[in-house]
């Protein structure tokens, strides 16, 4: 781990540094552009900290291995891109229903399928929420700089540990591969959250009985609390049930433990929104262009502002609703054909016009393109 100070590093490297600071000691992954550096750097750094790195046979196995690693007590992470993210969906659902904390990094590239392996895209936004089958909690964070990648990787672990749920760090190739100044804080200045452990005796442990906060304390395998974990719908003891009532209760609890606590991890940035009539909504790499576009529009005497969600899932409904009340028009700029747009329009559509600015050719949307898209409509 790097000590206090600053250094020029890549987004993917910052992700590993953040993970190590958060306490990651287990990484399982499979090579895929543009996320591979995360695996490479993890393989170099983990053994130096007594941690474990393993290159699995595919992404299905990588996702399974980190769940196993986490259940055995180590904070665990994997990193991938679109095609691998598709394969991980199966066991992301398993982590969700078994409430095993882990972090999944997706450095997005062009899709579908093999798509544009070396180019940025934001086409996995909906997949990050709905990729695995069934109703489930979804948490995804989208950093837009090297510094933020570090900080939000730490936060991703904290949310995963606190709420016992898989958390997705949804990067894009722009952020993963850019190099910027990264300021390292002293490790003691970083908030680190660890999973809640049972305080009762093993014989009194009911593995999936939640506390008042809806989260059951989690024992690691090998700590003397022998219990059962299954991907089948289960009751509080962790054993399968066909009870309609218990099934509904379980799924509602795992969804609500995240959904009802959204204020705890609602991260976003507001830029020149005070008097903004035109609001650009953008996240990840595109938000950097959007910020420049706001400044350019301001110079043209257009009252523009930026709302940048960092927590992309759960959807920041309250904040988007507030923004839309004061706006005349919202423009959602993203490197897909309008995925986050659907959610913004659902919430903001009743208050103002919601437009989209999209690009899916493997290039980042430029400030100029945003300015032109908005100027052309004025």
């Amino acid at each position: 781990m790097n000590s206090k100070g600053y250094k020029l590093i890549q987004g993917n490297e910052a992700c590993v540094e953040g993970a190590l600071a958060a306490g990651m000691r287990f990484f399982a992954g499979y090579p895929i552009t543009p996320s591979t550096e995360i695996a490479e750097i993890s393989s170099q750094k983990l053994p130096k900290l007594g941690g474990k790195f393993i290159q699995m046979e595919d992404e299905l196995a990588s996702m399974a291995a980190i769940i196993g690693g986490s259940l055995a007590g180590l904070k665990s992470m994997t990193a991938t891109s679109g095609p691998g993210f598709s394969l991980m969906q199966e066991n992301i659902g398993y982590a969700a229903i078994t409430e095993i904390p882990c972090v999944i990094v997706n450095v997005q590239r062009g899709g579908p399928s093999t798509g544009l392996p070396t180019s940025p895209a934001q086409g996995d936004v909906m997949q990050a929420k709905w990729g695995t089958h069934g109703d489930h909690p979804a948490v995804a964070l989208t950093p837009n700089s090297v510094q933020e990648t570090y900080e939000y990787t730490v936060k991703a672990f904290n949310i995963a540990e606190k709420y016992r749920t898989p958390v997705i760090l949804l990067m894009d190739e722009t952020v993963g591969h850019m190099r910027e100044k990264m300021i390292f804080k002293d490790i003691s200045e970083i908030e680190i959250i660890n999973r809640k452990k049972p305080s009762c005796k093993p014989e009194d442990y009911v593995a999936y009985r939640p506390d008042e906060d809806m989260i059951p304390p989690m024992a690691s395998f090998g700590e003397g609390y022998r219990y059962h974990v299954t991907g089948l719908t289960h009751d509080e003891t962790g054993f399968p049930t066909n009870s309609n009532e218990i099934s509904e209760k379980l799924i509602k609890r795992i969804v609500n433990k995240v959904g009802k606590n959204i204020d705890d991890f609602s991260y976003y940035e507001e830029y020149k929104l005070q008097d903004a009539e035109i609001v650009i909504v953008a996240y990840g790499g595109v938000s950097r262009s959007a910020k420049s576009a706001v400044d350019a529009l301001r110079k043209m005497n257009i009252k523009a502002g930026l709302f940048r969600p960092i927590t992309i899932w759960p959807f920041l409904e309250k904040q988007i609703n507030n923004v839309s009340k004061n706006a005349k028009e919202i423009y959602v700029a993203e490197m897909n054909l309008g995925q986050y747009f659907l959610e913004v329009e659902r919430v903001a559509g009743k208050n103002c016009t919601v437009n989209k600015i999209n690009k899916i050719n493997g290039e980042l949307i430029t400030p100029d393109e945003i300015v032109k898209a908005i100027g052309g409509n004025l």
Binding site: A64, A65, A72, R226, H228, T230
Partner: protein
Amino acid sequence: MNCNNVTKEYYRVEKLPHIWCPGCGHGTLTNTVVRAIDNLKLNKDEVVIVSGIGCSSRAPGYLDFNTLHTTHGRALAFATGIKFANPKLHVIVIMGDGDSSAIGGNHLIHAARRNIDITTIVFNNNIYGMTGGQYSPTTPYGDFATTAAYGNIDKPFDLCSLAQGAGATYVGRGTAYHAPLMQKLIEKGLQNKGFSFIEGLSVCPTYYGRKNKKGGAFKMFSFFKDNCADIKTVEKNPEKGKNKILIGEFYNNSKPEYIESYQVIIDKFQG
């Protein structure tokens, strides 16, 4: 330990009776796993049993250890994470034939290749039982299944050869009829520092048996009794192996174990 005590000590008695059909071989095979653990006096808190999806994979739910019922085919990948993260744990994986060699085939060969210290036991009943009798990668050529209405034209895997070829350092085969042998193979597998693969031939009278007119559970168990030959006997007298299913210990070798090799790296580079 006698039968009642084994049950009380190692089973989650309140979860019984099990879901397996009358005549199924899986209960007997599960018991051989438990008896092997008992004989080796492993600490229950340090035993982890991981399974995938299917009839065999319901076994861990009845057993009083750290138990993990995972997704179809992925048990070994989960187990790899557990064992690597906490090498003190004794990790046992129970899978079925479809689970381990169709959907999980890739994980099987790679776990074997790494020679990670996991003991894998495959309950092979030559059929997908949980979904109602479809052909699996070990259904014999020409046999019938609900998805092989005109006879199976797939050629079956020899799971033990597959595991050995992929790098497993301990390989053996028993059957639900040859329970003492099965138990011994599992014990030796657990003592092997590396990837151990034990195939337990099971019977599925409900689906495979009925579809192929095998005559019910008694006849199917009797088939094992009359048609298996121990490799040691056959090595001395090859005639005795003619048209028989080979059982016994097939391979026992030592190679660097994955986690020990990784520990060497940690010891060298840890600051």
